[in-house]
Symmetry: C2
């Protein structure tokens, strides 16, 4: 499918793309780019066989690549676009793998006065609480959703190429408007992460004085799993998508205050209805996952 794929940022996401591309025989060669301080990690990626070569000089890493994938935190993409701009090739497919899309496209538009037709914004909805290239897996994207949010400028043939690429990993590819992507992900992923971080933050302080964690059970463990996610990455995502996230926090507090009022006023039926609706809504979610 490609001669050379270049991965910019070889962590869990970039490393898993490299492993899947190799497993599916989608390219001859995989190079990687990272900063000076990432060289140990890149060396590790090479030793693991995730990539074939690496460089901290971008022009070397992307040379002759016909597919370039930016898998850095979303906050770093501005800088990457600036460095890529003079090296841009018309014949190469460029994609990112960021969890937010409006911020990535805004960064692209700051750097390029003419929006390139061969950049396809992409978001694989997959991850794990472990990070780093050691956690990379060739099946991370298998059976998972992958959202592409092409711009009006994006050429259909590059959209098709991007779609084929991810489908070869076994991903379920959907095309979506940028705004819709960011709204959906704010609700189903970013808000839950903020909730988990906030709850564990709040209870962690109580635990310091009242030793509560040792009485927490399995439900608490599952509920707070996403609070073990990487703080740097999530700071980045939350800031990049704050326009969508802020109103959701407000609305959720309205919902919580509603539960509080129902408890205060002993509105049993209304509380029961609300818990039952949630129970049924989650069943609808589970049925869809099958």
């Amino acid at each position: 499918m490609f001669n050379k794929v270049c991965i910019i940022g070889v962590g869990l996401i970039g490393g898993s793309i490299a492993r899947a591309a190799r497993k599916q025989n989608l390219c001859q060669n995989i190079s990687a780019f990272g900063r000076e301080q990432d060289l140990d990690n890149l060396q590790r990626a090479k030793e693991l066989g995730v990539i074939d070569s690496y460089s901290s000089v971008l022009s070397e890493a992307v040379m002759d690549a016909d597919c370039v994938i930016i898998a850095t935190p979303v906050g770093a993409m501005s800088l990457i676009f600036e460095q890529l701009q003079p090296l841009w090739s018309k014949h190469t497919l460029y994609m990112d793998a960021g969890s937010t899309k409006a911020s990535v496209v805004a960064a692209l538009k700051t750097v390029f006065s003419d929006i390139p037709e061969n950049f396809v914004p992409a978001h694989p909805i997959a991850g794990a609480e472990n990070s780093g290239v050691d956690a990379a897996r060739d099946d991370l994207y298998f059976g998972k959703r992958l959202i592409l949010t092409p711009m009006t400028e994006t050429a259909p043939e590059f959209i098709q190429l991007a779609q084929d690429f991810w489908q070869k990993f076994g991903s379920n590819v959907t095309l979506m408007e940028i705004e819709q992507h960011d709204a959906v992900l704010a609700a189903t992923s970013h808000l839950p992460h903020i909730l988990a971080f906030s709850l564990v933050n709040f209870l962690g302080k109580k635990d310091e004085t009242a030793d509560i964690f040792k009485y927490a059970a399995g439900g608490f463990k599952d509920f707070t799993r996403i609070a073990s996610s990487d703080p740097t990455m999530w700071l980045d995502i939350c800031q990049a998508n704050k326009e969508q996230i802020i109103p959701l926090i407000e609305q959720l507090c309205v919902e919580l205050n509603g539960v509080k009022a129902k408890l205060e006023q002993d509105q049993s039926q209304a509380l029961f209805d609300s818990f039952s609706y949630a129970n049924q809504a989650r069943q609808r979610f589970l049925d869809q996952q099958k």
Copy 2:
């Protein structure tokens, strides 16, 4: 250990107590009590071998029992105490298995002018989102915390008997003040359930119009698992412990509004610190679970 154990309410919790008692050879005989409308369930429990006999007449079910365990929803305990009161035996160990303790003891005190010395409030911190006797397991309590909250009136020999009983199931038994129990459980269990119900309620309504659930991933699945819990049971628990839960909802909203303000004001370092603290606090929780 006992001649006859009587279980009042044979669902997941009561059924698992019966199964564990039989497996550990803690009694000769297991009877059960349920209401008229529970007879099918009791028949099912008998067919499964969980219990030996059952009756919808309480005096029959508890006759000659030297251990009686009330495993009904906490909201039903008032009624059970009223019915048990004329049948009360001084030589029998009585326990409940409810998730809240102040409400259970309050119900007891309404019925008994002299607080019986042989009632030991107990709470096995174990469960599953599946309910009913079919989900009962003989190892549900193995390796799990069990909290006893004896009153000043409770006799030491009955506390010891209760402790021995649960330890034989492999439970890790702790004695605690009633108020402390309810505060700890409100924080680590009741608040997370309310959060999960509230989030799924809120997002479920969005899903009806915007189809968001199909883009939710594994993190969302784990985070919302407890929203699949039984609404009736949780209505009961939340109402029984509302004095503890209401201030926690308020405090959590303060925490969420803090995150919102930090996002609005681009306070990156403060946000990072808060996410990092949560990440480390969860690690502390995980380390304690080992």
